[in-house]
Structures are given as structure tokens and as C-alpha cells.
Symmetry: C2
Subunit: 117 residues, 2 copies
């Protein structure tokens, strides 16, 4: 597992995070994603974290940074599929996922990105 | 990693396989997917394997079986994102992925499922 696949759906990109992130995987994802936003002229990025039972400060920061990178490339980011336990942990850790919008699932995330256009 | 997330997109379900499959994970995926097809009344299933560098006979059979299960539940299956090396291996292994249609990427897979309706 050396990279996380990025799926194109219209003018949106979908990333499903299923494995534990480490430094190199996170950097590769950010490299790939920024390159794909430009190449595919994407207007939005959906990051699905429904497979994650735990989100620590590293992943929290990685998501925030990725959203910030997308933003300067004129693409909006929505995090979808957050598990209840993850929401609790994020608040308890004081992680606010700044600049990142969230939605219950991919469908609602797509709606959110379409509305924001 | 105890289960692979299944994402709902309209009346389609999307599964992105990123990790090496083992028996229990494959069985959990089949249980989850068949339950979700019924629950979400899905008409199609997209299985993205773009993250897989290698597809062995176990995964090949798992994909064929999953497609067969979806079919008896009246949902069509499209495998998307196959890497060139995987296509070579599949043919060399004599695996035909019977009953499974393939598409270059998620977008084309969605088109294929829409046409098939």
C-alpha cells in the first residue's frame, strides 16, 4: 500500500481513507490530490473517513492541511462518513478541522459541494 | 482494518479495495455488500481496484462471487480502475472475471450501469 486511490466523479474527486496514515502516505496523498485537482480541474474534494475508527491529531492535521491546499487551488473539501466516536475524539482533542465542511455521507457531501458552487 | 467501506451514490454502491484481501475481510465485504444492496435498493455496484497492483486467484474469485451475489439481488457489477499489469496477470492466470463488466474509471463505470438500466 503505497498510495491512496483518488476517484474522479464528474468535477469532484473522492478519496476513501481506509488504512492508518503515516507520514509518507499522507505526503503522497497530498501530492497526488493537488496534482489531480489541477489536472482534472476539480471543483470539490470528498474525503471519506467512514472506515476510520480513530482519528488522531496527525490525521486531523493532515485533513485540515489537505483542505487548505485544495482551497488555494479553488476546490472545496467535504469530509464525509465520520463515525460518532471520531466526532467525540476530535472535540476532546480540541481539533476543529478548520476550513473543512462535513457531511453524513457521500451523497450529502456531493449535494453540499453542488450547492456551494 | 476489519471492514471495507461501502459508499452510496444515488442508486449505486461504490467499494474501493485498497488493502490485501484475506478470507475474513472478503466474507465481511460480501455480507455487508449484499445487505446494503437490499437496504439501499441498489441497482448497481462499482468495485474500484485501482489501488491493487496484484490480483491473485483469491481476489479474482472473490470479485466474481460478489458479482454473482449482486446479480441474484438484481444489481449489476462493474469493476473499475484495473491496472494494466493486473489485466495481464488475470489473463495469464486464466481468470475471466465471468459475469463482471469492467470500465476504465468510476465515471465510465457509472455510465455503463446507467446504460444497462
Amino acid at each position: 500500500m503505497d498510495r491512496i486511490p483518488i476517484l474522479k466523479m464528474g468535477d469532484l474527486l473522492l478519496v476513501t481513507i481506509q488504512v492508518d496514515m503515516h507520514d509518507r502516505l499522507a505526503m503522497t496523498l497530498q501530492d497526488d490530490l493537488t496534482a489531480r485537482i489541477v489536472k482534472d480541474r476539480a471543483t470539490g474534494v470528498l474525503i471519506d473517513i467512514s472506515a476510520l475508527d480513530i482519528v488522531d491529531s496527525f490525521i486531523g492535521r493532515m485533513i485540515s492541511n489537505t483542505a487548505a491546499m485544495a482551497r488555494v487551488l479553488d476546490a472545496k473539501t467535504v469530509v464525509v462518513g465520520m463515525q460518532p466516536a471520531v466526532a467525540i475524539t476530535l472535540v476532546e482533542l480540541g481539533l476543529k478541522l478548520e476550513g473543512v465542511r462535513t457531511a453524513l455521507n457521500v451523497e450529502r457531501g456531493v449535494q453540499l459541494l453542488r450547492q456551494a458552487e
